[in-house]
Symmetry: C2
Subunit: 352 residues, 2 copies
């Protein structure tokens, strides 16, 4: 109990960092020195390239603590960075974490956050090697850097896709976006009931029954290291790869632009979960629009040479959704009835 | 002119990143791929260890845009991270930069910031390999990660100091703190004149004459790569090293704690610039307190075996300020008149 009553102010900056990062497990031989000096010290084998990715997550922009528990936020913050290392075909090894905290956050809050962070890191054998905290004037800011490695020459860029390559995607799309819409709807309901109650206590219970999968996809995304391992085991070297953070459309356009090519993607092959389809209908949204532009799915989008088609067919949880074309052929979505639409990055207006 | 009129909103997130990071120079063969994919891709020689450090800088906490130009802020943001790599005895190689921007920042502002960032990076042969921007609800947030390398086994930790080791410090201390106090004073003067003017325009000119060095130390700190190079050339391997970001007292206590030892530091040997001493007197502050607790000097504090004394004496801009003792002997400052005081981390009350 004494521990719980301790607060951030009593610990001070160095005490807080020590409290949160003391006795962190070390999973990787590449971690020589973690938290506690001017730098972390790492060591990579001569046959490896080092991957570095970083993300800044801000309260009110990237997350809403009204419905995101800090434990889930910690988990997701680590996961979205880990996902970027997988998106290069690499293996995540270390992360550093910087937090800006306003006065409303307690030590217990930060322990919750770190619990989630550690859960994600342990699941992917990632070491927390840097943990900085500072005060902020308002809100919570999270900056995470993830470091990984990949065999020399094997990093998978966005720029290697070639005409006739197959376009593949893992898992299913649009669920995280609909999970977010569900949270936003229940938040509105809560606020309107609260306003009606005029200061009287209200007994609000959000209604998420049958939609648990969508919430989980929003709160607890899973980086697809399993897909990267399958690719390695099958000897498939994708020609291009990205993780789907901004939405399938946006990522497809990045690959096409960087690879100087076009694409044809078939609506009927875009993988959707049943709950995603049902929830889109309830919200009167086009489910394909959600899948194309929703974002935050953290699935992998990759292209492979046509010669690898049979190997890809043996993969778990991977769908072929189309193929790469010459740049002149455009970037097209083919609907079920054979109509063609240009793929646009934000808001696919034709189907809205 | 058309370029200047363009704004962040027109460019969008990806356009802004592209605009700011297009055609960045690459100084290091270890940089294989910089900005533009899910991760940066780096390659280090087998005889190197990799160093990683990260800092989160927040408006209103770490900097005040009332008197810090964005160009200087960019410069300093890079420099404080570069300094952490030198503090391990390493060579900085790459940085990644994440920015959170509220609506009040224009494209021209961000160009200013990046100009400063590039100036610092070019001065130390550092490549900008990641540049992320996001909107923020209020203010400017800067998260920088710096990556460097050091020969295997040669990283200098805080934990290696031994009794009889000499304590050395580069440059001089306290100037950055007094520069900050000067800015704060002139800001107060400006606000009070503005209040008196009751909405009429005022002709305010801050008075910094003869104190330019202090302002430069605050606005444009220089990471001491030159000291690290001197140490290498002389074959000196410090037993412990840190950069002085929080103040000499705080860093000395870190080295003593991590090395399980004590120290004796002599007031008369603490290096001070003439302007620092004069300004402290004007502010009625004890200059030694400023040097011990001021912070932001980004000088190097290091310990070397007694056997290296003659070599250290040949170094440019390095002073020996005391020596390491057994832990039982305490952590002491010896004043000019021979009195002993315990070194405390924040606010050295005896001399205040």
């Amino acid at each position: 109990m004494a521990e719980q009553e301790k607060d951030i102010k009593d610990l001070g900056e160095f005490g807080l960092i020590h409290h949160l990062t003391d006795q962190l497990p070390i999973h990787n031989p590449s971690t020589i020195k973690g938290v506690g000096d001017d730098c972390a010290v790492l060591k990579f084998d001569a046959d490896k390239e080092v991957l570095v990715t970083t993300d800044l997550l801000l309260e009110g922009i990237h997350f809403d603590l009204t419905y995101v528990p800090l434990r889930h936020l910690g988990y997701k913050s680590a996961m979205v960075n880990i996902s970027d290392v997988y998106a290069m075909g690499g293996t995540p090894r270390q992360i550093t974490v910087s937090l800006g905290l306003s006065k409303r956050f307690t030590l217990a809050d930060m322990e919750e956050f770190y619990d989630g962070l550690r859960l994600a890191c342990d699941a992917h054998n990632v070491d927390i090697v840097g943990g900085d905290t500072t005060s902020s004037l308002t809100g919570l800011m999270i900056s995470i850097t993830c470091i990984g490695d990949v065999e020399r020459g094997k990093a998978i860029y966005r720029s290697g896709a070639k005409p006739t390559d197959l376009i593949c995607v893992s898992g299913n799309l649009g669920a995280a976006y609909l999970g977010l819409q569900l949270f936003e709807r229940e938040k509105e309901v809560f606020y309107s009931q609260q306003a009606e109650a005029k200061g009287q206590p209200i007994d609000f219970q959000p209604d998420f029954s049958g939609r648990e999968y969508l919430l989980e996809r929003q709160l607890k995304p899973e980086a697809r290291g399993d897909i990267v391992r399958q690719l390695r085991q099958l000897g498939i070297q994708p020609t291009a790869m990205m993780d789907i953070s901004d939405g399938l459309s946006s990522e497809l356009l990045h690959i096409c632009e960087d690879s100087h090519c076009g694409c044809r993607v078939y609506e009927e092959h875009i993988p959707l979960d049943y709950q995603t389809a049902a929830q889109a209908e309830e919200f009167n949204l086009n489910v394909i629009t959600c899948a194309l532009n929703g974002g935050e799915d953290y699935e992998l989008l990759f292209t492979v040479p046509l010669a690898d088609k049979e190997k890809v067919e043996t993969m778990d949880d991977v769908k072929m959704i189309g193929y790469i074309t010459d740049a002149d052929d455009g970037k097209l979505l083919i609907t079920r009835d054979g109509a063609q639409f240009d793929i646009k990055a934000q808001g696919w207006n034709h189907l809205k």
